[in-house]
């Protein structure tokens, strides 16, 4: 697992403390009950801070799964 993936897992676990390490890569809006709009803003802010980046509003709206977030980071 890459360093970026590990960092992203830490962000996910901070926002969704009930997810264990193995569950995070499969996490999405539909599979995590606690994933609401507030959680998305929290997750975006945590990822921005951890990776030292700034998302555009439309990018934040695309943060609907762990894999989606990973692709968003890879595309930057």
């Amino acid at each position: 697992m890459s360093e970026s993936q590990e960092k992203l897992i830490r962000c996910f676990q901070a926002v969704f403390p009930d997810l264990n390490h193995g569950e995070v890569p499969r996490a999405s809006v539909s599979s995590v009950a606690a994933w609401d709009s507030v959680a998305t803003v929290r997750l975006a802010a945590a990822v921005e801070e951890e990776f030292g980046i700034q998302f555009e509003v439309d990018q934040i709206e695309k943060m609907t799964s762990f894999q989606g977030c990973l692709e968003l980071l890879a595309g930057r």
Binding site: R10, A14, A46
Partner: protein, 557 residues
């Protein structure tokens, strides 16, 4: 603190008694809620911090609806709470009418804040974000409307019982996150949310201030080296570009007047030091410095003697020196003592140093501290020998006064409880809310003890609190200032309790720091937690005080 750390702390399972907090703000609380919970949880590791928030855009309603008692209230005020036209999300037209409307809203908010601040600790932050750009004047100028708004806010800040954060401290360059405000109704950057939350947590849970400062002399209290430049050659003035040392001395004066103990530890010639300290232009009061350890011996030894003379723990003291090696040696000898390198011409350093000793009120006892420690030297020396101590105490003309009563609560009582380590029955600390709840118990009784003798006034130096149960007194709280040691005041306290009750049950717990209390309990209770009149008479040494007890007059509440 980073957001990810705050989330981890806030989401962690916390055991312990709940610590209920109302976070009242007109915005979406989002990261502010996370950071507040994290900072409070760090400050109160044994408590389970629980946060309540109000409705978006209705700060006044949140305050007015806060009927459920809580341990603290944090109020975050922004321009939009005074008038929605002043907020970035409204895009409303602003004219002079906004001043009257904002005043009306502030009056309503002030009523809510005042009602809550009367009964619980309340921290308030004033607007820390810029006003929406709705003015025809340049943003670099303070226009009439903004001036009027600040005037009304400062007027309220000056009159409220709430702890108001300084607007300069609460705001951060780049602290406004417009993108998130427009998208989610949360206006702060992550860094600003952290800063605001930390300051609000500190407002309702202030750090215990340090009690003493030990300073070096050369290149610290003054510029220059006494041995090379001579007493007239060291400087602290604008002419020699050494004014920062005068500012440092001036800070020491301010601290001393607020009751902070000051001492000198310097590797120097004692005669030269004496001459330099008698210079008429010295800014720091010579009488504030006690003791003065000026010799060529190790500084760790000097610090040891100073701590002994002050009778305070190393963790309550700051040592300031310009020499990193000296600092390291003292740090090695006293790991809990805060060792600070002198930073010349560094304004932030000087402010932070002052903040280590910050207190909201200066009480009569604070002004007596240095004088009473000087006077106490004779007593402490005599304490080594029972015969000399008896002779000294017999001629001391001591008066011990017990003031019974809990309404209105004497703020000195809580201050003493939360800063006393050595003569402390069990080391239990109280938040303001916990203390008020304890005092509200119908059976709870509180006595604050005042002492003076011919060597001087010590002021309010002890607190006793407990509950009467079936003819005996259960003592929950008993603390006494270390300045009052060796005068048998603790024996007199027990005598006064036993004059009222048949026996006293001590809710005693040994702690790492309360060795003097452990010794006293061993001497007077001999393995038991209960002391009766007969055992007391048998074990108590002679007492020479004139003791009096009176009931405080209730002035309401």
């Amino acid at each position: 603190m980073k957001l990810i750390e705050a989330l981890q702390i806030a989401n962690a399972r916390h055991e312990g008694r709940p610590f209920q907090v109302l976070l009242a703000c007109g915005c979406t609380p989002l990261h502010l809620e996370t950071f507040v919970k994290a900072h409070l949880s760090l400050a109160l590791p044994a408590r389970n911090v629980q946060l309540r928030t109000g409705l978006y855009g209705d700060l006044a309603g949140t305050l007015e609806g806060a009927r459920q008692p809580c341990d603290a209230v944090l109020v975050v005020l922004e321009w939009g709470d005074l008038d929605p036209r002043l907020a970035w999300r409204s895009a409303g037209r602003v004219n002079e009418q906004v001043i009257a409307d904002a005043q009306a809203r502030l009056n309503r908010l002030a009523e809510g804040i005042t009602a809550l601040a009367d009964t619980m600790p309340l921290g308030l932050s004033l607007p820390s974000l810029p006003l929406a750009p709705a003015f025809h004047t340049s943003s670099q100028e303070l226009n009439r409307i903004e001036s009027a708004l600040w005037q009304m806010l400062y007027g309220f800040a000056a009159s409220t019982r709430a702890v108001v954060l300084h607007p300069n401290h609460a705001s951060l360059e780049g602290g406004h996150d417009l993108k998130t405000e427009l998208r989610s109704g949360f206006p702060y950057s992550v860094a600003q949310a952290d800063r605001l939350a930390a300051a609000l947590a500190r407002a309702v849970l202030p750090r215990a201030p340090k009690k003493g400062l030990i300073t070096d002399l050369d290149e610290t209290l003054w510029s220059g080296v006494l041995g090379d430049d001579g007493p007239e050659g060291v400087t602290w003035d604008l002419d020699h570009k050494t004014q920062f040392h005068a500012l440092y001395q001036n800070l020491l004066n301010t601290l001393a007047e607020a009751g902070v103990l000051l001492a000198v530890a310097s590797k120097n010639d004692a005669g030269l030091v004496d001459k330099a300290l008698t210079r008429a232009d010295l800014v720091v009061g010579r009488n504030h410095l006690f003791p003065i350890e000026a010799h060529w011996g190790p500084k760790a030894k000097s610090v040891e003697r100073i701590l002994e003379a002050w009778n305070v723990g190393a963790d309550s003291v700051v040592f300031v020196d310009d020499n990193p090696l000296e600092l390291e040696q003292v740090r090695t000898a006293f790991p809990t003592l805060e060792c600070v390198e002198f930073h010349k011409d560094d304004a932030a350093w000087l402010r932070e140093l002052g903040d280590s000793f910050a207190k909201r009120e200066v009480r009569a006892e604070d002004k007596l501290r240095t004088a009473s420690i000087r006077a106490g030297q004779a007593i402490r020396r005599a304490a080594a020998d029972d015969a000399s101590l008896d002779a000294l105490l017999a001629g001391a003309e001591a008066r011990v006064s017990f003031c019974w009563g809990k309404q209105p609560p004497d703020p000195r009582a809580l201050e003493l409880i939360n800063k006393t380590n050595q003569f402390n029955l069990n080391g239990v600390r109280y938040t303001e809310a916990d203390w008020m709840a304890y005092l509200a118990g119908a059976a709870t009784q509180l006595a604050v003890v005042d002492y003076q003798d011919r060597f001087g006034k010590l002021g309010k130096i002890a607190v006793l609190a407990g509950r009467e149960t079936a003819g005996r007194f259960e003592l929950d709280v008993w603390v006494m200032s270390c300045r009052a040691f060796s005068r048998r005041i603790e024996h007199q306290c027990l005598r006064m309790l036993l004059a009222r009750w048949e026996s006293v049950l001590l809710r005693f717990e040994p702690t790492e720091r309360n060795a003097p209390m452990q010794d006293f309990v061993a001497q007077m209770a001999a393995g038991s937690r209960t002391i009766g009149r007969a055992e007391f008479r048998r074990r108590c040494p002679p007492l020479y005080h004139q003791a009096e007890s009176h009931q405080m007059e209730c002035t309401g509440v």
